[in-house]
Amino acid sequence: MSRFGEIVRRDLRLALRQGSDSVMVVTFFVLTVVLFPFGIGPEANILARVAPGVLWVTALLASMLSLDRLFQADYEDGSLELLVLTPTPLEVVVAAKVVAHWLTTGLPLLAAAPVLAVLLNLDAAGFKILLLTMLVGTPILSLVGAVGAALVLGARRGGVLLSLLILPLYVPVLIFGVGAIDATLQGLEPRAHLLILGGMLAGALALAPWAAAAALRQALE
């Protein structure tokens, strides 16, 4: 468990010191969302109608764009091999890296989402549930994304390939995330959607580290 904390701290330190990665992810999120009022026109009621979907889709893309730094840098400079050689199970290493990834991408996205929701004129009733769905949903994105990021290590055109592998698997998160917000906005109970999202998080939490660890092992063989 202490090693888990060590790896999380190491990745956070790397992210904070060497780069503007989190800033870039949030900037991408903000810029893409800001494009939509230009694309579909500034009418407030239309924007309010599409706001949950736009926020979720762009958050999903922003999260996906940051996946390459989960393992790629460690793979290139060889520290991933050292991490594999440590007595810590590789699954724990993966889980720690996913936690660090979520803290540096999911959390900033979560912080930026309410501001953007104001820009898109989201109904006041939707704010709480937007944050709640993103709080449950973005860790699923990081977990499933870790599997994809581990699979494409060393592949040709890894970035494009990653989107082909990961986006189909992101679809359920998107459906239930937006579904919960839409249900609330229409005055319905969002509980069922949230429970399914929670179930997906539990499933991903239990299975994704194993799949990603298996992918890392075959990448380093």
Binding site: V152, R156, L161, L164, L165, P168, L169, Q218
Partner: protein
């Protein structure tokens, strides 16, 4: 199972089975098409459009069956490192993708006159589309590495991860009560369709199933032959390099 991991033994059995499978495939598709297009009644509601179902439903079954087979072969390849299982999984992917595409296209053609739309974002349709993308991702990933075995291994893991989608497709019509009709053949209490329509459906399903086996054997045979040629060429190059 380990007995059949030997390529030579696999080829012997496969070559013996191939003409029979091809025969069954041709006969059942011919008979199935005859019953489907000529000798079966039009539906009381759908009219002659119901005949699209005789292609659509077996194609959908095969899309799911091929993914299941691909995931099973991938698991075998990962667990026991059978090269043959790897090869069979890769040979299954394009067939499954083709069946899934056929299912989506025929469903769309049927949807236009029946539902009044080419496409609806219904749970069954969406999950089937995701299945198609999973096939594409599998094929792209298995070809994305300079070292082919790396690609096979990575793609095998992806096939297992993507398998979560298959039960979602199967039960999507029960979990979400949307446009697509629920199961009418494989359901509790027996099939809910008339024998005159069940017969062509089952014949087509048998035809598609045997078609898959025929293509699988042909593709596996070609791959094994390709690997042999590769080995022979490499041996020749090495011999030339030693100056013999």
């Amino acid at each position: 199972m380990h007995r059949f991991a030997n390529p030579a033994r696999f080829l012997r059995i496969a070559n013996a089975a191939l003409p029979w499978l091809a025969g069954v495939c041709a006969l059942s598709i011919a008979a199935g098409l005859w019953f489907a297009l000529v000798d079966s009644p039009p539906d009381y509601q759908q009219g002659d459009s119901v005949r699209i179902m005789y292609l659509h439903v077996p194609a959908a079954w095969m899309g799911m069956f091929c993914y299941t087979a691909m995931a099973a072969f991938s698991a075998m390849a990962l667990i026991w490192k059978h090269p043959l299982a790897d090869l069979l999984a890769r040979a299954t992917a394009p067939v499954g993708a083709a069946f899934t595409l056929l299912c989506l296209v025929t469903g769309s053609l049927w949807g236009k006159p029946m539902w009044g739309t080419w496409w609806a974002w219904d749970a069954r349709l969406t999950s089937m589309l995701i299945l198609f993308f999973l096939y594409l991702g599998y094929m792209a990933l298995s070809n994305a590495f300079d070292d082919p075995t790396r690609g096979y291994r990575a793609a095998a893991i992806l096939a297992l991860v993507g398998f979560v989608n298959v039960p979602v497709i199967k039960f999507s019509v029960d979990w979400w009560n949307t446009l697509h009709q629920p199961a009418s053949v494989m359901r509790k209490g027996g099939p809910a369709i008339d024998p005159s329509m069940l017969l062509p459906l089952m014949l087509m399903a048998l035809g598609f199933q045997t078609y898959y086996f025929v293509v699988l054997i042909l593709r596996a045979r070609a791959e094994i032959a390709g690997a042999k040629i590769h080995t022979i060429r490499m041996a020749e190059v090495h011999a030339a390099g030693r100056g013999e």
